[in-house]
């Protein structure tokens, strides 16, 4: 029997799951859309992972969760470790690229930069206040231009003369884009300009004041877009590495972290369980804390969101 370690990264747009062994080899992996329902997405991921390891004798002994729904899913799966995505990404990437110095990560809703020297994280930054230049911006603009976001990269590469599109703020970028389209720019030039503006926006906002040294690894959903990769390489004037498993780095990282945790008995039967979440507005003061209760088969397993003891939901 092989011991397996499950890592799940539940992002705003996509959910990623991997099972690794002691030597960090990926035994099974799955990537699908969250579609606004993290619990359902995780159940689907688990089902597919279970299918992939059916023939091998693998027993999952530890579970880690990361991503924006890490707490909810961690509670449901009774995870041994719940880690923020910044640390998880750094650990995952370091396991494959021990020499990496800069990690560029652009996901669906957020983007971050992680600086690593001598194998330790020395600095990081995450986008603040607005989701400018992230995956969701690209996909909404793809819809406007009537192309699939998956084709964006290939179309962008055909352009010789990218349109100049404002990079500071996506609201301005959008009006720039409409304007450029109306005055007769080619579609591929606009798309290439858009990819360039995502890269510029990232470098101006998230990576502002940070020293970007080689080797640079670009990951997250947007790294699948070769147009943006190309834009980064042109602006930074260096090579930017992308990994075919780049989107699994967060899940891989948290699975590696789970190796060090205490072993638990995990069963895929959890797919069959019924999980319901309810939100309550605490009535005790005008703050009206939103309390989230997680029920497993009708039984409360955890609740959070209250700022004081008065809002505590008693376990039944």
């Amino acid at each position: 029997m092989t011991k397996g370690y499950l890592g799940i990264d539940i992002g705003s747009i996509s959910t990623k799951g991997v099972i690794i062994d002691r030597e960090n080899h990926i035994l099974a992996s799955c990537y699908l859309w969250t579609e606004g329902n993290p619990i359902r997405a995780v159940k689907k991921v688990l089902k597919r992972l279970q299918k992939q390891i059916e023939k091998e004798d693998v027993q999952v002994v530890s579970v880690g969760t990361t991503g924006s729904a890490r707490k909810l899913i961690g509670t449901i799966l009774k995870a041994s470790i719940i880690k923020n995505e910044i640390t998880a990404h750094a650990i995952g990437t370091l396991s494959k690229y021990p020499n990496v110095k800069t990690i560029i990560e652009i996901g669906g809703q957020d983007s971050k930069i992680i600086l690593i020297r001598d194998g330790i994280v020395i600095d990081y930054a995450m986008n603040t206040l607005c989701a400018a230049g992230t995956g969701s911006f690209l996909s909404s603009q793809a819809k406007r231009l009537g192309v699939e976001v998956e084709d964006f990269g290939n179309i962008a590469l055909t352009s010789n003369n990218p349109a100049l599109i404002a990079a500071r703020c996506t609201v301005f970028a959008e009006s720039d884009l409409v304007h450029k389209a109306q005055i007769g720019y080619q579609r591929n030039d606009i798309i290439a300009g858009l990819c360039r503006s995502v890269a510029l926006n990232y470098l101006n906002n998230v990576a502002k004041g940070k020293k970007i040294l080689e080797p640079i690894i670009f990951q997250g959903g947007v790294s699948k877009n070769i147009g943006v990769v190309d834009a980064f390489e042109k602006i930074l004037n260096t090579k930017v590495i992308t990994d075919e498993n780049g989107h699994f780095m967060g899940a891989l990282g948290v699975a590696i972290l789970a190796q060090k945790e205490k072993e638990i008995s995990f069963s895929f039967d959890v797919i069959q369980d019924d999980f319901q979440t309810t939100s309550i507005h605490c009535p005790h003061c005008p703050n009206h804390c939103e309390i989230i209760c997680v029920n497993e088969n009708g039984k409360l397993i955890d609740s959070w969101g209250n700022r004081c003891e008065r809002g505590k939901v008693p376990a039944n």
């Binding site: 924006s68 923020n84 910044i86 640390t87 994280v121 990081y124 020293k211 005008p286």
Partner: protein, 361 residues
Amino acid sequence: MKIISFPHLGDYYIPLSLFLKRTTNQVVIPAPPITKKTIEIGSKYAPDSVCIPFKYNLGNFIESLENGANVLFTAGGGCRYRYYAEVSEVILRDLGYDFDFYKLISQDHLRLKEIYFLFKELNPSLRFFTFFHNLLYTIFFIWDMDKIDKIIRKNIGFESNKNDHDHLKKKMLKEFSHTNSILKLNLLYFKYKHQFKKIPIHKPKQCLKVGIIGELYTAMEPFSSYFLEKELAKMNIEIKRYTNLSYLLWQKSWMKHHMLHVSRKYCKYPLGADGLDNVYRTIQLIKKNYDGIIHTKPFGCTPEIGAIPIIQKICEEKEEPILFFSYDVETSDEGIKTRLEAFYDLLNIRRDYHDKRISRD
């Protein structure tokens, strides 16, 4: 009947309401505790681009007025804040409220005589001695409370029994407010200082230490920083914070030349409000081997925006981890928690790395 009220700033409402009550002989009801509703009301009536302390204050004023208050007090400050009293007064009058409005600090200076006559308006029988005695009492109250807070921040992350510090502080503030004598107040301070030091803690010698710097309101009002200090305490971190009322009221002015001297490599002139102070604090925290620095400010805080590039440069030179928070109405606390957790991991990883390197050498 006059009902006096004023906006919140951490726990300072206790000495302030005592002072107002004892000098004016009127009913004093501080604004209701800050909640999400406060900031909702505040941001509804405030100009959109104004910084978040204004929105909290305006929300406090409106909730006070709804509570029946008809006399409002406010302070002034060194940045845009000095103009906020006038702006909020106009907004409140436009909303149709009827009230008297008093500013404690006008034109950046706290003038004792002016304030005395201001209080004389409210209470014609006020004697200068009573006024002066209560002023001294309040100053000592704030001073003692700030010193106790310093001890609390050092130890609260390591208490053996949860909420020991909070309970004792509540008890202390209650006993502080029951006395009228300055001598007794200070005796009480020593008694409680002793008790605070006796609270059982399990503090490792090499615990993580983080300094909080930044704009004054977000540093002192826990609600506005989404209870940053509480979150840090939960992670077993020792906290150092320079900003408190005692600092702002009397230490700041005589520190200026010293701060300019220490930060001479980076700034030649004060940056307005607490900008220079934060550059100085950054240098001090790095000198004192703090593991990391957290800088907080409201979104759009101009003096701090001027200070940030300088602070960033210092931290880059000295390889000191720093985390910047910019608060506004819409900032969700989930994002803040994620960044804090990552910061905590980063500090821990660095610690381990340095320990290993030292043991190897």
